[in-house]
């Protein structure tokens, strides 16, 4: 038997909200589509084959991925603690985590330089083991971690909060250690939020400009001295819009492709 759909005239509030929402969607979509379609496929392909472009793409993707892995390793445990424990100063800790979202990112770059520059404490420690930050891959990564890790921590925290704590308690009484309970119950049940937060962190790292331009305007990476995509786009803009448009289009296409793929994986089987 075929399903019948009954048409119901939308009320005035829904109509107004749809129109307002459409403005936002157009504001997001029109500039992106216009940029993508401003260059022919041939131009895009030729631009992709330029060494400073593909090295930049590789640097940007690799650094964002490394930053996300660091975020997962350091951020997920913190998110779990915040979701499960009440302690004095918890609100303060949560506020600190979100600070990178609200401060100007160029200021964040300066702040990072103060800590990770070779003349400063953390910088000296890392320098002694061969890791430099200024003008280096590690600098790009640390800037990306700084500005984008709040997205991962906040998402993971909400994911852990949604896991019934009694599941962990049952697991403990059944013989699971806290580690086993975490890895076999809490983490798998919160993975969708963690994955979603990781995608957001990766995407935010990919688009970072302000902090990176201060700490690693250009970075040594796999034998190239290259720049992350947002810096490369800004650089090329100095030479005219025509010169920067294909790179911007490539950046948008790559970001969208990865973002859509990962979100599809994360929400597979779940109704919108």
């Amino acid at each position: 038997m075929s399903k019948m759909r009954i048409w119901r005239k939308p009320d005035s509030m829904s109509v107004v909200f749809i129109v307002l929402g459409a403005f936002i969607l157009l504001l997001i979509f029109v500039p992106l589509l216009k940029t993508i379609f401003s260059s022919s496929p041939g131009t895009l392909w030729n631009t992709l084959l330029e060494e400073d472009v593909y090295s930049s793409i590789l640097l940007t993707i690799s650094a964002a991925l490394t930053a996300t892995l660091i975020g997962l390793f350091l951020g997920v445990p913190l998110a779990y603690l915040l979701s499960r424990h009440q302690f004095r100063g918890k609100r303060f800790v949560e506020a600190i985590i979100d600070v990178p979202i609200v401060i100007p990112h160029s200021a964040a770059g300066v702040a990072l330089l103060f800590v990770f520059g070779s003349n400063f404490l953390a910088g000296k420690v890392f320098h002694s083991i061969g890791i430099g930050f200024f003008g280096a891959f590690a600098g790009v990564v640390i800037a990306m971690v700084f500005v984008s890790v709040p997205f991962l921590i906040d998402s993971a925290k909400e994911g852990f909060k949604a896991v019934d704590v009694r599941l962990e308690k049952v697991a403990r009484t059944l013989g699971a250690s806290p580690w086993k309970s975490f890895f076999r119950i809490s983490l798998p049940l919160a993975w969708r939020s963690i994955f979603s937060g990781s995608v957001l962190m990766w995407a935010r790292g990919l688009s970072e400009f302000g902090a990176i331009v201060i700490i690693a305007y250009s970075a040594s990476f796999l034998g190239w001295n290259t720049k992350v995509l947002p810096v490369l786009i800004a650089d090329r803009f100095d030479f005219g819009l025509d010169y920067t448009l294909p790179v911007a289009a490539l950046a948008i296409l790559i970001s969208l492709a990865v973002f859509i793929t990962l979100r599809t994986i994360a929400y597979k089987g779940e109704k919108a």
């Binding site: 019934d164 599941l167 308690k169 049952v170 697991a171 403990r172 009484t173 059944l174 013989g175 076999r184």
Partner: protein, 348 residues
């Protein structure tokens, strides 16, 4: 045997204190109390899921107060059938065996035995999300029992079930207990559930144990007004002993003089169970020493039973069957006689 000595748990805005219990091996023990009394906290403190401020918990000759939950030999079943949603029914039951590193063939055999015992063999491959409330509860029980705990803690396991499933699960719990003979500590706020299942009951009120005893003791000899109310003793009065008659006390409760078997001589509080009062259109000829005429002032229909309020004054709430209610043709304003024994009155 589980012995709990002077247990104290501090949750900041709530204090569970002075909890002393002595639970026999294989006993079905009920912890009864209203919402917020601290029942779940007590259960979780026994399981090691809450840090204990003071006191000791013993299982047999083993002091377990400082052991982590996974080393106590205690399993817990929560209300709302908390199952691992990302595992199948089989994986849920297998969880405890796998983390304890049982050999694969033993895991399989134990799961099959347990599933058969609780009647869920046909559900093993299903996802918990697709199960009914009763089925989920059986899976949760199987998962808790398969590790052969010394003590099984069950936290309001029937409160989320419909009345018919609840009755069936009560039978299942009794049957499970008869077969497995594990010591059970069962938390509930439902007095009738406590009477149906418990060998003994502890009533918890505001973080303290108010009374420990058999269901019969709760029905006949509640230790306080709180316990009497919780045990559904709906007639609770204040009175004064005004005389002695044939070795029984004559107690004045607002103009009506009751005969009760008590040695109290002053102001008293007393309770009388609704089912201990007989209603009749004429005075009954019986050995019962309390017989009064009153007017039906309220009728609360509960389906198979009916609560009838008879005003003398004061108001007496009586419980009669639907059949008796129909036969007596009771309605508001009708004059009736109420009769009850002196021994039915309990003076605190």
């Amino acid at each position: 045997m589980i012995i709990i000595k002077n247990l104290k748990v501090n949750l900041g805005d709530f204090l569970l204190r002075d909890v002393n219990l002595d639970i026999k091996p294989g006993e079905y023990f009920i912890i009864l109390g209203p919402t917020g009394a601290g029942k779940t906290v007590l259960l979780e403190a026994i399981a090691g899921l809450y840090p204990v401020l003071e006191g000791e918990v013993w299982i047999g000759d083993r002091e377990i107060s400082s052991l982590s939950p996974e080393k106590r030999g205690i399993s817990i079943v929560y209300q709302d059938q908390v199952l691992f949603p990302h595992f199948s029914v089989e994986e849920n039951i297998a969880f405890g065996l796998k983390v304890r590193k049982y050999p694969k063939n033993e895991v399989k055999a134990n799961i099959d035995n347990m599933a058969e015992m609780v009647g869920i063999s046909h559900l093993l491959k299903r996802s918990p999300i697709t199960l009914s409330g009763g089925e989920k509860q059986k899976v949760a029980l199987a998962r808790a029992l398969v590790t052969e705990p010394e003590v099984l803690l069950v936290d309001e396991p029937l409160s989320a079930l419909d009345p018919e499933t609840k009755e069936g699960m009560q039978r299942e719990l009794r049957e499970m207990h008869r077969r497995v003979k594990v010591t059970v500590i069962h938390v509930t706020h439902d007095f009738e559930e406590a009477v149906a299942l418990g060998h003994r009951v502890a009533v918890l009120n505001d973080g303290c144990i108010a009374q420990v005893g058999t269901p019969e003791e709760f029905l006949r000899r509640p230790s306080s007004e709180f316990v009497a109310r919780f045990a559904l003793s709906r007639n609770i009065f204040s009175g004064r002993v005004v005389g002695i008659e044939d070795g029984c006390a004559l107690i004045d409760i607002g103009g009506t003089k009751l005969i009760a078997t008590t040695e109290s001589k002053d102001d008293v509080r007393l309770s009388l169970r609704p089912e201990d009062i007989l209603i009749s259109p004429e005075p009954l000829r019986s050995t019962a020493r309390n017989c009064f005429q009153g007017v039906v002032s309220d009728i609360a229909d509960r389906g198979s039973v009916v609560y009838v309020t008879v005003s003398l004054p004061p108001d007496f709430i009586c419980l009669i069957t639907r059949q008796a209610f129909d036969e007596l043709e009771l309605r508001k304003g009708v004059r009736v006689w109420i009769t009850f024994k002196a021994s039915a009155i309990h003076v605190f």
